[in-house]
Structures are given as structure tokens and as C-alpha cells.
Amino acid sequence: MIPLLRGHPRLLVGAGISLLLALAGLVSLVWTPYPIEQVVVAERFLGSGPQHWLGTDHLGRDMLSLIMSGTLTSFLVAGLAAGIGIGIGVPMGLAAALWGGWVEWLVLRVSDLTFAFPAVIVAILIATLVGPGESNAIFAIGIFNIPVFARVARGGALTLVGQDYVAAARLAGRNRIAIAWLHLLPNIGSLIIVQGTIQLSLGILAEAGLSYIGLGTQPPATSLGLMLRDAQSLFLIHPWLSIVPGLAIVVIVIALNMAGDGLRDALDPRLRRQELGHVAG
């Protein structure tokens, strides 16, 4: 991996910041400066100071702890949603590329269907079925990720299905599933990772959107989106309360996108050369 990083500053910076923030989130599982459920109304709206580096929120909770655990929830929601997208979308895409015909027609219709249901509508429907919460946001955003990964996987696989080594594998008696697992998946892996970082950043924004209309993470848990919503009405009185989570979201999303772009450049040349192949001369 190291040569990969050296050549691409954007990847280094992007991945670095994202990992750092994700780490801060993970730490919050074990330790946060103050427990986030601890409400001390008397100490609310404190500016940044020795005890509370980032001050306190409208319920007196420590902002730094909230940001840490909020970052964790945002990453968790976006990560699992991307996981759903990959887990279901990629096999669909590969099946579409390998079997073609009505399988492909079905996969395309299913992805049209999932696109047609904007994530927010799905979130609203599920929220009323199961009740709002992280799991609801994960599921709603996850559904929206499925067609994205299906398209990427199908696109990538289509260019590879025509390659001779796939024909050679069929000649060696490999069935379609073995070919998908042994030959197609490893070769579209980098495409999936790059798309993964992008969907991760979109997932964090989507979670913020869902929290804004009250369907994402629910108190006492917190997420960056929820913090932003709670602070929105106090914008003119305590702007600090919405600037901190807002900036956190912007920094994470930019970092993830930079990591995604850097990864695409780092992996792309190798991907492009072997993909096209070229005749001597």
C-alpha cells in the first residue's frame, strides 16, 4: 500500500483525515470526556473553555463528547448503508453482466425501482413502521445505495466479460458464479472501493438530512446531523452550536471525497492499462 500513498498527496490527506476522525469516533465507544447522556442544564451554552474544549450544548452536554460519538454514529450509519449497497448491489450488477438477457432486464428494473423511491420517502415509510432511529436511516440510505453499486459493478464487469481470461476460465469448466468470484470481483474491487468512499460521504449527508426532518438518529444517541438540527433554531443566539457539527460534516465529506478521488487516480492507471490491453506496434 505504501507506494500507492506516496505518489498521491490527495489520497494521503483525504484518507488521513477520514481515518483520524473515524478513530476519534471509535474512541467514543470506550471513552468520552463526559458521558453524552449526562444532562446538566445549569452548565448549558458554555463557550469553549478548560473543562469543555468545545463548550456545551442546549442541555449542558459536552460538545466534544457529542462530536466524537456523533461522528461515530454518522460513520456507522453511512458505513452500514454502503455495506448494504455493496452486499446486494454488487452481486446484482455482476449477475446482470454475466447472465444478461432477462436477468439483466430484471436487475435494471429493480435498480430503477429503488432509484424511483427517494431515500427520504423510504425513510418516512420505515420510520412510521418501525419508528425513527439509526437502523431506519441505515436501511433507507442502504436501499438507495443498492442501484448505485449495481450500476458500477455491472459497468465494470461488462468491460471484463469480453476479456479472453474470462473465456479461458469458462473453458476450464468454471461456472458463472466461480468466474464472478475468482475473476470479476477482484478486478472491479478498486472501482467498488472508489464508489464506496463517495457513497460513504453521501451517506453522512443523507443521515444529516434525515435527522433534520426528525427521522434519523434519535436522542439520547446523537449524530452530526441531529446536533445540527437541534442547533438550527438557536443559530442567531448560539451560532457556535451549529458551526461545530456543520464544520465536522463538511470536513469529513471533503476528506472522504478527496480520498475517493486520490484512490481513483492511484488505482486507475493500472486498472485502465490492463483493462484495454493494446496491440504491439
Binding site: W105, D112, L113, A116, P118, V120, I121, A208, G225
Partner: protein, 317 residues
């Protein structure tokens, strides 16, 4: 070509039918009884039951689904239980806000995003490229309800150029209605413009390496002329697919922006209708939304075939 259209249209209809079934089943499972919601805390169980039968909520599910679908085919979405008005009328009222808003946002995002992408690609690696792409990166990263708030504070509260929100119907005062579109439209357009700029740039950079660009330069065109005359049109193909997806993002985004600018849009209609358990209204509105998004994607696919002659003759996938 007709084969291509026929296959895609068939797919479109199939998607709608399945979508209708999913919407119906999902909503039927919703907990919470619409009648209880209307009559509130102290109403007696008897009057709640009376209202339920009045609204026909006790008939078997399948017959309700079939009658609903048959009604929708005839344009009759049924009567909204909470608002006693035909659902189609309610939806049309709200569509008069959501559709123009989404189109306004699409146009703005194209006018801003595409040129940004083209210039960045033309000046690849130079200062203009990096600055534009940094702007695009931040544009994507800012949550649109936060950006909406900022826009309101500056242009509505501060400078008083535009209203903070609300909507006067088109027939009453088209000027005011248009002004009510500007800020929400901008808030919606920003992230989409940023995405468009990035996609356009990548597409144009890829196209610039194609052989036919080198042929164009060999004909006597400079690098920029070759890119402009031959590159841009070819780069529009991948951009076109993103436009189809963006419409789905935009429709979803409007629900959030409608809250920030208190617009009577389709999204909020669905949102309030669900919390009031107005199943008939939710079903109709969600289906309309699904139809609009699918129709756009169908149009984009057909547009794709129009732009790319290679798809025209064979039966495309």
C-alpha cells in the same frame, strides 16, 4: 429505435406496477389508526369505529388495492380522509410547487455545474482547475438545509430582496411565486451543481485522451477547439446518465428544503399525511412521486439513444 423505446417503456410500466404494489403493502402495515388520529385523545372507541367504516378501512386488502389501481388508471386517486378533498387535486396543488422548484434547481445546477466542469477540464492541472474543484468539493459537502439557512439570513432577512419562504400560487401572483422559488432553488441546486461539475470534468478529461480528438487536432484544430467541438458532446453521454439520477436526488432534497422555506411541496404533503395516517393521500402522493422520477429516468434513457447513434439501430440494453 422503436424496439429500444418499446422495451424501455415496457420496463417503465413494470416498474410502476411493482412500485404501486410495494407502496400499498408498506402503507397497509403502518401502525396507528387514521380514525383515532382524527378524533384525538378523548374520543370514545365507538365514534372511532364509526369513522373507520365511514372511510372504508375494514374491506379486505386485495379488493382495496385493485380498486385503488383501477381508480388511479382513471386519474381518480380517491378522497383524502383527513382533508376531505380529492387526492388528485391536493397532489396537483403541491406539484405546482415541487415540479417548478426541481426544474429550476436542475437548470441552475446545469448552468453553474457544466461550465465549471468544462473550464476545469480545459485548464486541467492549472490554478483554475484546482480552485473550481475545491469549490465543487465544498459544494457537495455542505448540507443543503444549512446552506438554505445561510441564504435566507443574507438575502431575505438581511437584504430583504427575497421572501424567507412561503408560496403565493402562480395564478394569483406569478412574480411572487417565482421569487419564492429562487432561494430554495439555489439551496437545492448547489450540491447538484457540484456533482455535475465533477462528473463533467472527469468525462471531458477521459474524452480528451480519445483518438478522435487527436484526429481533430490533426485536421488543424487547436487543443481547445478540438475539445470544444468534438469532446464536449461525447462527454455529455456520461453526464446525461447522472442527470437522470440527480432528478431523483433533487426530488428527495425538496422535502428537506420545503421545511426550511415552508413551501407547500409534495414532500411535506407526504410527510404530514403519514404522520396523520392519511393512507389514501400518502399512497397517491408517493405513487405520483415515483412516476415522476421513473418518467425522468425513462426520458434520460431515450435522450441517451437520441444523442448516441450507436444505440439507435440495434436493440439497446
Amino acid at each position: 429505435m422503436t424496439l429500444y423505446i418499446a422495451r424501455r417503456f415496457l420496463g417503465f410500466l413494470a416498474t410502476l406496477l411493482i412500485a404501486a404494489a410495494i407502496i400499498f403493502v408498506l402503507l397497509d402495515l403502518l401502525p396507528g389508526d387514521p380514525a383515532r388520529f382524527i378524533l384525538g385523545i378523548n374520543a370514545s372507541d365507538a365514534s372511532v369505529a364509526a369513522l373507520r367504516t365511514q372511510m372504508g378501512l375494514d374491506a379486505p386488502a386485495l379488493s382495496r388495492f385493485l380498486s385503488w389501481v383501477w381508480g388511479v388508471a382513471r386519474g381518480d386517486f380517491g378522497l383524502s380522509s383527513t382533508q376531505r378533498a380529492p387526492v388528485s387535486e391536493l397532489i396537483w396543488e403541491r406539484m405546482a410547487v415541487t415540479l417548478p422548484l426541481t426544474l429550476f434547481a436542475m437548470v441552475v445546477s446545469m448552468l453553474v455545474g457544466l461550465p465549471m466542469g468544462i473550464i476545469a477540464a480545459m485548464r486541467r492541472g492549472k490554478a483554475a482547475d484546482t480552485t473550481l474543484m475545491v469549490m465543487a468539493q465544498t459544494g457537495v459537502a455542505v448540507p443543503n438545509f444549512w446552506f438554505g439557512m445561510l441564504l435566507t439570513l443574507i438575502f431575505a432577512v438581511g437584504l430583504r430582496w427575497l421572501p424567507t419562504g412561503g408560496f403565493t400560487p402562480w395564478d394569483e401572483d406569478a412574480g411572487a411565486a417565482l421569487r419564492a422559488m429562487v432561494l430554495p432553488g439555489m439551496a437545492l441546486a448547489l450540491p447538484q451543481a457540484a456533482i455535475l461539475a465533477r462528473v463533467m470534468r472527469t468525462a471531458l478529461v477521459d474524452v480528451a485522451e480519445q483518438d478522435f480528438i487527436r484526429t481533430a487536432r490533426a485536421k488543424g484544430l487547436t487543443r481547445d477547439q478540438a475539445l470544444w467541438r468534438h469532446g464536449v458532446r461525447n462527454a455529455l453521454l456520461p453526464v446525461l446518465t447522472i442527470l437522470g439520477l440527480q432528478f431523483a436526488f433533487l426530488i428527495a432534497g425538496t422535502i428537506i428544503v420545503e421545511n426550511v422555506f415552508y413551501l407547500p411541496g409534495l414532500g411535506r404533503l407526504i410527510f404530514t399525511a403519514i404522520s396523520e395516517r392519511d393512507l389514501v393521500l400518502v399512497r397517491g402522493a408517493t405513487l405520483v412521486l415515483v412516476v415522476v422520477v421513473s418518467a425522468t429516468m425513462l426520458l434520460v434513457d431515450l435522450g441517451y439513444a437520441l444523442v448516441d447513434p450507436r444505440l439507435r439501430r440495434e436493440s439497446g440494453r
